[in-house]
Symmetry: C2
Subunit: 409 residues, 2 copies
């Protein structure tokens, strides 16, 4: 069995056959940058979604959650940036439905076959005149190479669009999965699976039923977006939507070898998008792999990983290239994970930092070299069992504070 | 019954009768600032303590935890700053014991009657030659007006010493409680009661047995230091030690009116010290009262308060004077507290911000005026029951990142 897949870095949601997309300007952003994205499948597609667990879930999230349950197939996703349509009450729900209906009418498809996302400022009603003209512009601009324009239109504080694809060969035929994501702050994996921690849209020309698609989305989310943490905050609007239109003619069935091949490719794509989100995190200068090994249980390993990934003191030390393991052990110590402090071993990449709970004796200058890299690993061996967990984290810089003190959400 | 107490802002741990204190230079700090503090009771004092729950608790913390159980009385507390004696293994334990023994020998008191604290860099053994000369200097400098010198000697990133006292009259006699505290980062109230979130030393000339003292320390900690959050991190060395030497001749007994009067004064003193710590938090420009009301349960109220106090996005918005209530509702939404989002009401001081989960319609410029103050309140009415909880929080500024990227702990 061949698990190989090919990452296509300049791919997008329109690389899989049968999908069109576009980005357009509705005029919701002061900058007048593109703020309306549309993904359209020429034929009805199976689909699945995962959404924020925040109790102030935005109106479009509530609408999508309904439609995941009620709708058999999906044909379009319309997304606006610049306004979150969150905390907008009954008027907000009406506007989210209107966004879907306007898109369906312009596309001449069934009204229920449209999902809606919004991101941006909370608590302000959508200006429906601008939304309407934006939808019409996005429908008019639909194109089979429009994936990258769509990826640009969903950006808020992101500095670059996140768009990618992955290709696999199944039974001699090519199957493609395309994806785009948005998100650079308000990112934390505290949610229960399935969930999403940002906006992410995935398309594939494989044929997969909704049940298997839902399982794959949940599992791959747990192995990608649930492992990242930028600032410990979670949004009202996090959404992940995946569509499978079957245009390739290749069917993926539960338990088959093909399902394993497909899942690995999907996971790789979602991990690449998650990595790209961390790398583009607000003010991020370091990408930090956190690896916990030999924990008593996976729950302990998760507690330990989360404590490191969430610690403001660790994140600022990484920013300062300070091989400051005191903050690491302090965070491990309050994490709630069970272990013997006197048995803990920590490495920065391959440099020992802590041996048996004490300084490993490597000169600081050597350790600082590791932290001066754009990417490095913090490896913690708890010596308490056989369980492990990994996460991707980042530093917190002046720039993070600047962006979040000045950007009014 | 008179619950009145008088806060004495220029008071210190030497204001209660029978206590001496001093600050001295051991030479542990690069700056050569005072780094050794000593508090001494001329007669054996009852005492109690509360300590970090971090599993990497420092050697002096372990020693103190033993002595709280084993020792009937205490006569001295010796504290060094500049080195935490944490993650230092058996050598560290030996050094903590040696610090106590050297102090006892110099003071000619029983070796077990000394408690020890250390704060500063983690993972480096104490230079015992410097410690020894520092202890000798501190003993030589003991003075009945030495409380403020002691408060200065325990500082690390603090910008000012935190020293205070409170006086009460009981049965026509004056009873005094003095206190000093240290701590400006690594502060979070995630611990179980009893615990301390920083270094704090309290003296009183009242006569109180160890059991009642322990109960009062635990309760007052819950009402003061457990309510503050600066950066969500917790230290390996947090310690609170209170001594009661009975020199005033006033006895405080459990369940008496006097106990209530005394407890209220103690709580007021600890709250003043906790406030001073938040105000002096690393890079702090805003003091934020978080008040949760009408929660379904106190646990829900605590979850909601903690989510706001811990949110990096809220803290940076406060720094930016951004009346950004979207981040408030996002944090409440992921807090885990149970409530109806459509019933939530939020005020900044007396300005309504959110009514029934939606924008209250007050112009941003009006709201921004509230946030431009050095101190303001975020009042959240969850409309879900009768429980409440309050916390004191702060903003996160460029300066916080600068201090923590550059200060090597």
């Amino acid at each position: 069995m061949d698990l190989a897949y090919k990452i296509i870095n300049d791919g997008s949601v329109t690389l899989p056959a049968g999908f069109l997309a576009s980005g357009a300007i509705a005029g919701l952003k002061v900058s007048n940058a593109p703020d309306m994205a549309l993904i359209f499948s020429e034929t009805p597609a199976n689909f699945s979604g995962a959404f924020t667990t925040c109790s102030f879930a935005a109106a479009p999230v509530k609408l999508c959650q309904q439609r995941v349950i009620e709708q058999p197939t999906l044909q379009a996703v319309i997304v606006n940036s610049g306004n979150a349509n969150a905390c907008t009450g009954a008027g907000g729900m009406k506007n989210a439905e209107a966004m879907a209906d306007l898109t369906a009418a312009a596309l001449k498809i069934e009204p229920g076959a449209v999902m809606v996302s919004s991101t941006g400022r909370i608590g302000v009603q959508l200006p429906m005149d601008k939304i309407t003209s934006g939808i019409n512009a996005a429908v008019a601009a639909l194109d089979e190479t429009g994936g990258k324009c769509a990826a640009e239109a969903i950006m808020t504080t992101d500095t670059c669009p996140k768009s990618m694809a992955v290709a696999i060969e199944i039974d001699g035929q090519q199957v493609t999965i395309g994806g785009m994501a948005k998100g650079a702050g308000m990112i934390d994996p505290k949610m229960t699976v399935p969930h999403a921690t940002m906006l992410c849209y995935i398309t594939t020309d494989a044929a997969i039923d909704n049940k298997l698609l839902g399982k794959m989305v949940a599992d791959a989310t747990e192995e990608s977006f649930n492992r990242i943490n930028i600032d410990g905050d979670m949004s009202t609007n996090d959404s992940l939507i995946m569509m499978a239109n079957g245009v390739s003619g290749v069917e993926i069935t539960a338990g088959s070898d093909n399902a394993e091949v497909f899942y690995n490719a999907l996971k790789a794509l979602m991990q690449q998008l998650a990595r790209a989100m961390v790398m583009d995190g607000e003010g991020v200068t370091k990408f930090v792999n956190i690896e916990i090994s030999n924990a008593a249980t996976e729950a302990d390993a998760k507690l330990a990983a989360n404590a490191l990934a969430n610690s403001l003191l660790c994140k600022t030390a990484w920013f300062g290239c300070d091989p400051n393991w005191g903050r690491l052990v302090a965070a491990l110590g309050y994490s709630g994970a069970e272990f013997d402090p006197g048995a803990v071993v920590i490495h920065y990449d391959d440099q020992p930092v802590v041996m048996n709970g004490q300084d490993a004796g490597v000169p600081e200058a050597e350790l600082a070299k590791v932290l001066q890299q754009r990417e490095f690993s913090v490896k913690v061996n708890l010596n308490a069992g056989n369980a492990g967990y990994w996460m991707w984290s980042n530093d917190i810089s002046y720039e993070y504070v600047k962006i979040n003190a000045e950007y009014h959400t």
